[in-house]
Amino acid sequence: VKFDVDKTRLPTSVPDFMPTTGQDIIKQFIQQFFKCYDESRSQLSEAYHENCIFTLSLPQSPRGPALSHYFSVSRNLKRIKDTAKKISTVTTSRNDVISLLVKLNGTTHYFSSFSVDVPLITSTVVNFIVRGVFKENGSNGVLRSFSRNFFCQISNTSLQIVNEQYFLRNPTSDELREAKTYASKQKSSSNVSQQSE
């Protein structure tokens, strides 16, 4: 007599979930978006639809360096009880999204830390989540981890963000350790691109 009680294993983690069709356009968008986000954030208008919707969320009790810089715009529906604030923390136009983003700390994203899931893609829309680590610019250079959920309209061969949910937190000890290798890779790759110019 056998009993099937061995339900203890968890599936093995896979770094990315990407469709074969549409993969290039998504990867290209991510490269361009985060490069522009780091270097000239005010120029991101074209990446967002004029009627886009944006929210930023933080963990309820973050450990590590304070995330207070982001508090004023953060939206956590578990914590907010006031109905008006539940609505006012949603940003609902391209201009307002860009003005919010330019107020946030300057960043340097580590591209080699990125991983991407694409759970939904049709001929007209695509949903993907980008996770990774970035360094805040400035003297202290605090590291943060992020998960950004993008819902985009596909027009011809380009993507435009219709919805974005941006989640920000402090890195785990593993992520902090790995970030050192990302930082050196980033440096060597930017040297290469400067040499080739």
């Binding site: 529906l77 914590r79 609505i87 694409v118 959920n149 219709v162």
Partner: protein, 138 residues
């Protein structure tokens, strides 16, 4: 704020997404933790699950996949909901729900999770169209 010059329908859509998303969050994790054999009902026939990068397509396959996971207990720390404007979804009512917190699977250490859902309204009932989950050490 922004909403004052936006059409009233957008405010209504945001309110609707908050109501649906808030109910969804408590129902989903309660069902997941306590009566997982019923969780398949929350997924659309053609739903896509991405569990730690593993893709599972269709309601029946997702139901089986989730049933085979160890027992667990979730604590939700934060969540966020947004409407997707109907102009982008052929007029369908859809919302995005993002959730984060911790989960303890039987015989495993505590993990932090972030889960992103797309839900669509099918004849008055909200169904999960996509579900993408990521785990990490807390």
């Amino acid at each position: 704020m922004t909403l004052d010059r936006s059409p009233p329908t957008l405010k209504f859509q945001i309110e609707q997404s908050i109501e649906a998303g808030t109910k969804f969050c408590s129902l989903f994790y309660e069902t997941y933790d306590k009566t997982r054999h019923k969780i398949g009902k929350m997924y659309h026939e053609a739903a896509q699950l991405v569990w730690e990068g593993n893709g599972v397509q269709g309601k029946e396959s997702i139901e089986k996949y989730l049933q085979d996971l160890p027992g667990c207990f979730h604590i939700v720390d934060w969540f966020d909901c947004q409407p997707i404007l109907p102009q982008f979804t052929n007029g369908n009512e859809s919302i995005l729900v993002a959730v984060g917190g911790t989960v303890k699977f039987d015989n495993h250490t505590l993990k932090a999770f972030v889960q992103n859902f797309t839900l669509t309204n099918v004849e008055g009932v909200w169904k999960i169209v996509s579900d993408a989950l990521r785990l990490r050490p807390p």
